[in-house]
Symmetry: C2
DNA sequence: TAGATTGTTAATCGATTAACAATC
DNA sequence: TAGATTGTTAATCGATTAACAATC
């Protein structure tokens, strides 16, 4: 049942379903339907049913989906029924904002360590963390068996730092540097670049 | 020639092409090929040629693409041969990091104003900007004819603030709040939610 | 029961790739 | 010229949707 051969585009929608379901649960809701979920997300009801059916039968005809049950299932599917430690690399504006971000709670992640290579930043306090010396990053990550990293260093250093993260055993990188990373198979990268997102919209303007 | 009927998925790749071309130009490079571009981005050469050919003939057989020329064309296509003013709403950690972000330079955007509703933040300095009172946001945006917003307020307020942005004439919103926004046709939204990106990777881990 | 909604199938729609003539 | 690479076509591949039997 684990990993049939799910298209990545389907995997990409599951976190959106989960987020919406968690909002519904917060509102005290118990049941929802593929139609309601679709309306809230701008996705067709058929697609939502098809996506979910790849992993099992989670609903009931005539009734819909029990929100808490579906949340539990999606958390299992996405492997966030555990909490993943995060390493944040780069304690500049973006790195610091990420370290202080409250939005990871109950979503499968917690910041575990913060590194920078700037002597002015090493030893300083960011949120609940002391910025550690990047020179010792590889050993520290390896010792703590951290698998997920957020990369918030300048573009010029991003590839080199990514190489060291991979050497340290990191296999998922959320990259805030505006540059495409080259990584070996088995390492996953996601990109956050506000300018890219903005440009995608200005195409449609005027 | 403007707006035949380009698939959104193609539009979404153009900023990536542009970013890579700008890196090449910075390295002093003059020419590239669909093959080289593809290798750097993990995209097939055929796809890049097909994407670009939707907008014109920008290359030369046997030679490839002149980097500066293609940059110019992509900037025109994406409407970033102008600089767009940005309004940042929310002067918390994320909003402040966005305001101070140096990565918009030469990519078509500049922060123009910053708003918050917290009396402790109003009047304070963030980077080069003074945080303005959110109560006057709609009039200020309308008067300055700003069209693009970055939304960095708590999820609970995001939809309400988005409504006011749209009322003010905003038609592109980059939303950092972890919630799906409901917007009318003609308003575009892009989402940045680190937890969503991370969950998309943990699916593949262990 | 009547109404609602699932899970699934088949049909449609759209995106990607392979291949190659054109030509620099 | 020979080699390289484009722009484009047709074929392949994959994703979405419409429809409906099953059933709660």
């Amino acid at each position: 049942m684990e990993h049939k051969d799910i298209p990545d585009i389907v995997v990409g929608r599951l976190p959106l379903y989960l987020r919406t379901l968690q909002h519904m649960a917060q509102d005290g809701r118990l049941l929802t339907s593929s139609q309601e979920l679709g309306e809230r997300l701008g996705i067709s009801a058929a697609q939502i049913r098809k996506d979910l059916s790849q992993f099992g039968e989670f609903g009931k005809q005539g009734t819909g989906y029990q929100i808490e049950f579906l949340i539990k299932k999606l958390r299992e599917i996405l492997h966030i029924n555990q909490e993943w430690d995060l390493v944040v690399v780069g304690a500049g504006d973006i790195g610091s904002a990420v370290v202080r971000y409250r939005g990871f709670a109950n979503r499968g992640f917690r910041v575990a360590m913060v590194f920078d290579s700037d002597p002015d930043k090493i030893g300083s306090q960011v949120g609940d963390f002391t910025v550690q010396d990047g020179s010792y990053m590889v050993e520290a990550i390896r010792a703590a068996r951290v698998k997920v990293a957020m990369l918030a260093v300048p573009a010029a250093q991003a590839q080199e730092v990514a190489n060291r993260l991979i050497e340290a055993g990191i296999c998922a990188i959320l990259n805030y540097a505006p540059i495409s990373l080259n990584v070996p198979p088995g390492v996953f990268v996601q990109y956050i670049d506000p300018a890219i997102h903005l440009q995608r919209m200005t195409y449609y303007l005027v």
